[in-house]
Amino acid sequence: MSPDILAPLTIAAMAVVTYCTRIGGFLLLRNRSLSPRALAVLEAVPGCVLISVIAPRFVAGKPGELLALAITLLAAWRLPLLPTVLVSVVATGLLRHFM
């Protein structure tokens, strides 16, 4: 299929899937409760997905990239979103240039 069609289709699929999650909990769980184990798994889901998506950064071959990641990690731990992004982008750009 051509990308012209696949991109809008993917966007539509996202919208459908997400709406299903919004009404799904209401429909399925309104009259019962989840086990603590099921709750623990559901709570872990977003974090597991986020860390998996950025995992390649942790095994980047170049030392400059790894150092940039370490700086980003430190910033993310201490600062709000926007300063973190700024520190991270500047550090990455500089390290790429000089290392």
């Binding site: 991109a7 860390i51 995992a55």
Partner: protein, 227 residues
């Protein structure tokens, strides 16, 4: 109080949240076009999906052409927390007719859900127009500013030369920090990382996301203490 007044109260009280949305929306929009989104496709995604975390994941995995099944599956995983949120909301809206509940759930995001529930706790009753007021401002702000980010992003040029591609990693790490409660609770994340990173090195494509996410969830299942 009248419906209109309640709606306006929700809109007014959501203002600080809207200001917080601005930079995230701009970054998301700019990254989306850098990854190959057409600028008109960005508000389509952010308006129809309206769940920021999954949109950052989709942009991170985006290619031309995109892998529809992978992105749909990851959207489902990231947004599975909505199942819990909807379930928590259910007893408060049970008295309302379905024709009001189902459209209202379309705009349920972390922030509008939290505000609606906090207001209900304070006042003893869930106010649908208040919740819709908070949601309306959030939806409009999100769609508008992701589009502005998408529109002006390309004018800055090739972002990876300057390190702009790291912005997306930074956003994810801040989101993880926000979800962090304790090392114990975060153990499944480390399992995900320990599996996803080697998978990335040995397998082509985006398998590392699936293997990492699933092994983290298996770990969460076995690490959860029985009550």
């Amino acid at each position: 109080m009248s419906t209109g007044a309640e709606f306006r109260r929700g809109l007014r009280e959501s203002l600080p949240v809207l200001i917080g949305f601005l930079p995230i929306a701009l970054v998301l929009g700019a990254q989306a076009t850098a990854k190959g989104f057409q600028s008109w496709q960005v508000p389509l995604m952010t308006g129809g999906n309206f769940a920021g975390g999954s949109e950052f994941v989709a942009v991170g995995l985006w290619a031309v052409p995109p892998d529809l099944l992978l992105i749909a599956a990851m959207t489902l995983l990231v947004n599975s927390r909505h199942l819990l949120m909807g379930a928590a909301l259910a007893p408060l809206v049970r008295h309302l007719p379905a024709r009001k509940i189902f459209p209202s759930l379309f705009v349920m995001c972390d922030e509008s859900w939290a505000m609606g529930l906090a207001d209900a706790r304070k006042r003893g009753i869930f106010s649908l127009p208040y919740y819709l007021g908070t949601s309306a401002g959030m939806w409009t702000t999100w769609v508008l500013f992701t589009f502005i980010g998408a529109f002006f992003g390309p004018m800055i040029g090739d972002l990876s030369v300057f390190g702009f591609d790291m912005a997306f990693t930074a956003v994810f790490l801040v989101l993880l920090r926000g979800a962090w409660t304790s090392f114990k609770a975060a153990r499944p994340w480390f399992v995900s990382l320990a599996v996803a990173a080697p998978t990335y090195l040995v397998l082509p494509g985006a398998w590392y996301v699936a293997t990492g996410a699933i092994s983290g969830l298996i770990a969460a299942f076995f690490l959860a203490e029985e009550k």
